[in-house]
Structure formats: structure tokens, C-alpha cells
Amino acid sequence: MKLSSRQILFFLAAVTPVGKLILMPPQLAAAARGDLLLPVLAQLPVQAALVFCVLLAARDGRTLHEMLARRIGAWGAAAVSAALALFLLYAAFVPLIEQKLLVQSIFYDTLPSYVVFAPFFVLSAYLCSRPTAGTGRLFDVLAPLSLFGMAGILLFSVGEADFGALLPVGAAGAGGFLQGARRACAWFYDAALLLPLLGRFDYKKGLAAKGAAAYLAGGAVLLAFLATFYGVFGDIAVIQVFAFAKMSHFFAGLTVLGRIDYLFIFSLAFVMIFYAAMPIQGAVQLAADCLPQSGKWLPALLSCAVNAAMLALLYAFNFYSDRIIDLFTGRLFFLIPAAGAASALLVLLLGRRRRES
């Protein structure tokens, strides 16, 4: 069974912005201060264009591996698929670190044991072994949850925001903008997340344009969040990691209603679990496509192996989270946009509209 185009649009509009709410806002605030919207404004159209390219390639109706195999043979296809899988695993590292820090920070009063995050990989391994149609159906549930969480947090915090802090526009200068754009790169690989889904949804006329528009709509929500974030925290936004869990604290109604903002926070945290698992799921899918179809247990085994490896890596660098983030957003910033753009353009070249026979 295939995903529907609606589910793809839900993913682009409602799930992708949620993955950028944890560490990206303070990183942008540190780089561009009040101009933190500008780097995102620059990233969004680029990423939307790449989404357009990947969705356009979906007209072919084949999976990425099939497209590659048709042009460069089975071994070549396996090599490229493996490279793209590695890229997705590389891209997954920052969200995983974010998730781990988020879990340790917002779910516990005191620093918990390291192992509390380990069950995430059990879920991820399970998710990776499920049929892709299940992922599409997840988007049907995650999209309203994401909108509920975002709307709630924005509603509770917008009253406390001083949007004047964003002015004057351009105060950080070109240097601030470039620095912000560079740091934001680690979070913009959404087009690449669609690669493993190629051939698993039917292309309907106009899907590429709708997909790009949906992505931009999601981007608009992200921009609203960033603006409110900077409006609430101003100059101290730089140190406000996990801001989405803190912004709504200041809402006056909470003293009467109690901490109902946790409903929104947990909704977003729930969506983030799936967003963090998506690159791993994509990598497993790409690798599984290269395996022979006969062994049903092979994808499950692969899923366990990949997730175990990610778990081991994450805990191997457990005490170096800050340095890893700095590395990904600093010296190695170009890897994600370069590989993301190259893969999107590659599939656009490979994908041809299938002629009706």
C-alpha cells in the first residue's frame, strides 16, 4: 500500500517545522541576534525548491533504487543508495543529540541516567521495520498534533513577546546573516527525507508545487515561532535552548489554569520523536531496497543493526554534544546542504515521467 499525496503534504507542512525548534533558535540568535529570521528566510526557498525537485522526480513512479538501477546497474545503485543512507544517518545525528538533551532537560527535575534515552532506539528500530504506509498514516495523526502544539505555544507566548526586539532589520549585518545561514544548514535537509519515500506514493498532478507550497507554509509557522521566541527572550535568547518548552511559562493564565501548557509541549515532543527517527528510518529503507526481496527478516535485522550503531555512536560522544553541534554547524556546515542539493538534483535527472503504455 502506498502513501497518499495528502500525507506527504502533511509531513512537509506540519512535521518538518517541529524538528527545528530545539537548538536551532538559540543558535540563530547567537549568530544573527534580532535578524534570526533572515537566515531561515534564505534557507526556506532553497529547501522548497529541492522539495519541488524530489517530488517532481516522483512522477517516475519508481523507488530511488529502481531509478538508479535502471541507469547505472544494480551495484552502482547499491553504492549510491548506501551513500545516501550514510548521508541521512549523518543528518540524523544533530536531531538525535537534540532529542537526547531535550529528554534529559524537560522530562526530569534532575539529570537522569544516560540510559533513559536508549528506549528511543527501540522505537526507532520498530518504526524502521514497519511498512512505509504506516509512516504515511502517522503523518495523518502527527500533523494535527503538531499544529495543536505550535498553536498553543504561540497563543500562550505571543502576549509576552516584544516584536520590537526584531527591529531594525539587518542590524546584524551580512556577517550575522551568513553566520546564521551557515549554522541553520544542519537543520535543513527535509527534501532528502523524501528520497526514501520515492515510488511509495502516487504522484498526482501539481504535487510538486503543492509540496513546495506546503513546505513554505510550514516555514511560515517556523518563522512565527522564531519571531515570538526572540520577542519573548530578546537578548537572552542565545542561552534559551529548548525554548519551545519555556516560552509559554510566562502566560498569566497558567497561575489559574495550572501548567496546561505541558499539553502543547508534550504534543510537540511527541512529534519530535518521530521526526528524529525519520532520517534513520529513511536510511534503513534505502539500504533495505538494495537487499533481495525474499528475506523478510533482513530489513528488521538491518533496522536493529543501524539503530544499535546509532545508539553506540550517540553514547560514545555523550559528553561531547556541544562540540559535535559546533562541528556540524561550523566546519562541516556545507556537507548537509551540498549532499541534500546533490541528491535532489540527482533524482530530478534520473526521474522521468512514465509514458502510458
Binding site: D109, P112, Y126, G134, R137, L138, D140, G258, F266, A269
Partner: protein, 479 residues
């Protein structure tokens, strides 16, 4: 295996049937017609209406001259339900089902006369599905009565009732009911195939069939709908579902099942849509609170006190100060006591059950709190949780286990454990299908049209189409 047929030699056929049916309650009555032709009437003593048998079979036969001809025999009988059988095994099955069988000298066919009378109670309101407004009739253990209750409500030739037999020894009659042209043919075929493939000794109740009809038989999640009310059964048939009546069971099965069905009640259709919507949302809210409240309470106490408002936190802190048990163990203990009380009160005789409730609620609860074993908030939370689960009674078997699992996750990993377990559940639910219909529809996959009668209930005038999630051939139910 080749079936042994009647030979026409009455003595030999009688002996062969006696060998197949040696039980003492199977009676062999010798008869003669007016011309002296010998007959044997075979019937199950406890399952046959003997007055009717005498009136419709024996008396007319004794007055007739049949000349050993089947047409004359059948013409002489006054039984409204008449059929013929040739195989000895089929005749034995008919007798065991309560239908008398008539053999005669020279006859290679035997008449099955149908004076079945199974012991049955009167039609009453089912205890698990009480309606304040709406029909109060409930299904019985007798399948013919159940079929009559269905036929009474759906007076259409499209209503098909296909009979099957399941169970090697119980030979339980099972009827697959559906509306031809409305129910998906593939579903009917698949259900019949699954039922025919069942190879089991006996089927004492419809719940035995549920495991064989589920695509994931070991799953905790319910995959087949159940009802004890013919009005609900018929409404589901009219929506495009298929129903299964099982002889000996007052529970009818409906397929394909959607999870949202259990949040709906028959009464929702007899009240204003706004009230029905409110009640459905209330059921969902009660269920969510019932499952998550004990877990979040434990998680808040152990890992994240900020989850609780300050004033409530102070109250709770005062209550739990001297409790010797850890929060998770305390909650687990109180939940287990509730489950034990619940189980015991269902099984106990009515009057003892009432006394037990008093002992459980007052003596155990009150004394445990005053003795300092458990805290008052724990009792309140478990009590609310216990009540909340019963807001959706058809899911109680699943939700009580999920509640326990949530509690264990909360006690070991905290709130993140609760979220992860919920995520597991969600992934499992959305990928579960039965007979090609996703369990979580119309929410996942989203079927917009069906949302009009899911948790929100639209006015009847807006419900012009049957549920699209069921993918039936006939979409429109109202013009």
C-alpha cells in the same frame, strides 16, 4: 472420504444410524402408515418439540397411504420446514441439531422435518449494553431467534444469511449475515474462507471465532466488533459491515472493525447531534485520563514535580509524607487491589458482591489510608481511573492492560517513557488492518467524509453516505 448413503433397506439404515448415534437421548420411534408401510422417526429427545412432531409428522403419516413413494410421504407431512437428505452422516448431523429424521422402507432419501426446539430464554435487555432511549431487545443464545431478530429489522431480500458449521465435535452453526450489494464481496469471501478453515473441537462462544478472524491473532488490540443488540447489529450491516451470529452465543460479531466504533453508542443516534458529540468526546477524554492519570501522577512524583501545580503539590506532599511505599509501587498496589475487587465482584453472587463492594471500598480503602499504607491521592486517582475505563466498556480488556503498561513505563523511565510507549502504540495502531480496513480509520488514514460520524456527530441529514473507510460498493444510504 466417500459418504455412506441410505440403502433403502430400513433395517440396515436404522442400524447404521444407530451405530452413528448410539447416545440414549437419541430416540428411534417405529411407525406405520395406514397401509402398514414401516417408518422410523429418529430424533433427539432433548432438542425436539415432541408435540409438534406428533402433530405435524406422526399423526398425518398414520392416516396416509404412502406406497413407499417420497412424493407421497412429503405430501402427507404437515411440517412447514421439509428437506431431504441421502447421506447417513448428514442425517446424523440433522438429528444432533434437533431436527427429526424420517426413514421408510425402500426410501433412498430421508425426510428432515425440522421440529427443533432448543431451550431458550426470553428476549431481554443485554446487561452489558443498556439503553435508556432506543430498543431494549438483546440477542439470545439461540441462533434462530437471533436471526429472527435481525430479519425483523431488515425486511429486504438483500439480507443474506449464509449458514456454516464450525467445530469438529460441537458442529456449531454459524451464520454470516450481510446485505448483498452493500457489503464488500471480498470481505464476505475472506470471512467465509477463514471460518471454513477453522479446525477446532468445539466453539462454545463467538469469542472463539474472534481469534481466527483477526489478522493478528496474538495482538492485544481488538480487531473484531461485538454487540449484543440486534438494532446495533442491523445498523452495522446497513453501513456495509458483515455480521456473524453463532449458535449458543448472545454476542454477535461485526467486521470490519474500526476503533472509533467503541466510542459510539446506539443512543448517540437517538439524541441531538451536539449532545452525542459531547458524549463521544467525553468518553474519549475519560479513557485518556483513565489510562494516563496514574502514570503521570507517578512520573510527576518521581521525576518531574513541576508537572503538578504548586498548591496541589503541597497537598500531595502532605498526604504522601509517611507512605512507606515508592510512588510506583503504591499506585501499582492500589490498581491491583482495584482489579481484584472488580474481578471478585463480577464473579461473586449478587448479594455477597454488594457486601464485598462495601468491604472493598470502605474498609480496605479507608483503613489503608488511615493506617498509612497508601495515600489519599492514590486512592482518588485509581478510583477515577477505574470509573473512566468503563466509559468505553467494550475496550476494557485492552485499556486496563495499557494502563498498567503506562504505569510501569512511568515508574521506570518517567514521562518520556509514557511518550515512547504511546508512540509505540500509535505506530502499531496505524499499521494494523483487518480485512483490508485500517483499524484507526477515519483518523489514520484520514477519511474526511467519515469524520462526520466519528468523534463528532453530524446531523442525520448530513450522513448521506455509508462509511467510506469500509470501501463498500454502495456508497449512498440516503437521498
Amino acid at each position: 472420504m466417500e459418504q455412506q448413503l441410505l440403502s433403502g433397506d430400513l433395517a440396515a439404515d436404522r442400524a447404521a444410524l444407530k451405530a452413528l448415534l448410539p447416545a440414549e437421548d437419541i430416540l428411534f420411534r417405529d411407525l406405520y402408515d395406514a397401509a402398514g408401510t414401516p417408518f422410523v422417526c429418529i430424533f433427539a429427545d432433548v432438542l425436539t418439540d415432541k408435540d409438534l412432531l406428533a402433530e405435524q409428522v406422526i399423526a398425518p403419516l398414520q392416516r396416509a397411504v404412502t406406497q413407499q413413494k417420497m412424493e407421497r410421504v412429503l405430501a402427507a407431512l404437515r411440517a412447514p420446514e421439509l428437506r431431504t437428505r441421502q447421506s447417513l452422516a448428514a442425517l446424523a448431523d440433522e438429528v444432533l441439531a434437533g431436527n427429526p429424521v424420517l426413514l421408510w422402507e425402500g426410501g433412498t432419501d430421508a425426510a428432515v422435518t425440522g421440529q427443533r426446539k432448543a431451550p431458550a430464554r426470553a428476549v431481554t435487555e443485554p446487561p452489558s449494553d443498556i439503553a435508556i432511549k432506543g430498543p431494549r431487545e438483546g440477542f439470545l443464545e439461540d441462533m434462530k431467534s437471533n436471526a429472527a431478530l435481525v430479519r425483523k429489522r431488515l425486511k429486504t431480500g438483500e439480507l443474506r444469511m449464509d449458514a456454516l458449521t464450525v467445530g469438529r465435535r460441537s458442529q456449531t452453526a454459524v451464520t454470516v449475515c450481510y446485505l448483498a450489494g452493500i457489503c464488500r464481496e471480498q470481505t464476505v469471501r475472506a470471512v467465509k474462507q477463514k471460518l471454513s478453515a477453522i479446525d477446532i473441537d468445539a466453539v462454545p462462544d463467538a469469542s472463539y471465532l474472534v481469534r481466527f478472524l483477526s489478522d493478528r491473532p496474538y495482538s492485544l488490540v481488538k480487531q473484531v466488533g461485538t454487540t449484543e443488540k440486534p438494532d446495533i447489529f442491523c445498523a452495522k450491516l446497513a453501513e456495509g459491515r458483515l455480521g456473524i451470529l453463532t449458535d449458543g452465543s448472545p454476542i454477535a460479531l461485526t467486521l470490519p472493525y474500526l476503533l472509533v466504533e467503541d466510542f459510539q453508542s446506539a443512543e448517540d443516534y437517538f439524541m441531538p447531534p451536539a449532545r452525542a458529540t459531547f458524549l463521544r468526546l467525553l468518553r474519549l477524554f475519560a479513557l485518556i485520563v483513565a489510562i494516563y492519570l496514574p502514570a503521570f501522577y507517578v512520573s510527576a512524583q518521581i521525576f518531574k514535580l513541576q508537572l503538578l501545580p504548586v498548591k496541589l503539590l503541597l497537598t500531595i506532599a502532605g498526604s504522601i509524607r509517611d507512605i512507606p511505599l515508592s510512588p510506583s509501587l503504591e499506585m501499582l498496589l492500589v490498581l491491583l487491589v482495584l482489579e481484584v475487587l472488580n474481578e471478585a465482584s463480577i464473579r461473586m453472587p449478587k448479594y455477597v458482591g454488594m457486601a464485598l463492594s462495601v468491604v472493598g471500598a470502605l474498609v480496605l480503602g479507608e483503613t489503608a489510608v488511615s493506617a498509612g499504607f497508601v495515600s489519599t491521592p492514590a486512592i482518588i486517582i485509581v478510583a477515577f481511573s477505574g470509573i473512566g475505563l468503563y466509559a468505553v466498556p467494550n475496550l476494557i480488556e485492552e485499556t486496563s492492560i495499557v494502563r498498567l503498561a503506562m504505569l510501569l513505563a512511568a515508574g521506570s523511565v518517567g514521562t518520556y517513557g509514557i511518550l515512547l510507549l504511546t508512540a509505540f502504540g500509535l505506530v502499531y495502531l496505524v499499521s494494523t488492518e483487518n480485512f483490508g480496513v485500517p483499524l484507526a480509520a477515519p483518523f489514520s488514514p484520514l477519511v474526511r467524509r467519515d469524520l462526520r460520524d466519528a468523534l463528532v456527530k453530524y446531523n442525520l441529514h448530513s450522513l448521506k453516505t455509508r462509511p467510506a473507510s469500509l470501501n463498500g460498493p454502495n456508497k449512498r444510504r440516503m437521498k
